[in-house]
Assembly symmetry: C2
Homo-oligomer: 83 residues x 2
């Protein structure tokens, strides 16, 4: 068994509104950071996974994301196994 | 002015406890995904930034992260400007 660091990036689907992100964009604008035109808030989940190899670490992280970490109706996720 | 997509990844500092992440790890264990040994929850902020070039887009995103998006006492952040 080796140990792998796996990063799961979870984002709202593009068609899902993000009022919290819009609120952050409004505050940045009020603070003078007017170049920021859009803000979308997502989640980052760092996993430490014990697995035989990077492919099984990825499979386990994908199962965790699909079954628990992400909401498949509203969100998409990407899994990256660190070298 | 060009428009850049900038990703800000915000994580708890290693020395900060993450009880929510520990709870997720416990649930994954109960669900049979016993290979996941540690879970740490972070945040992902996707920005669209209007700027003269990638370096000024990065500088604006770093200012936004430092001044508003991240809590510098508890969190660290990384900024990546997409090509």
């Amino acid at each position: 068994m080796n140990r792998y660091r796996v990063v799961v990036a979870i984002r709202l689907k593009p068609e899902v509104l993000d009022p919290a992100g819009q609120a952050v964009a409004g505050v940045l604008d009020q603070m003078g950071m007017t170049g920021v035109e859009s803000v979308r808030l997502g989640r980052l989940v760092d996993l430490e996974v014990a697995a035989d190899g990077p492919e099984s670490a990825r499979a386990l992280a994908e199962a965790a994301a699909r079954r628990l970490l992400a909401n498949p109706v509203l969100e998409t996720f990407e899994v990256a196994v660190e070298p």
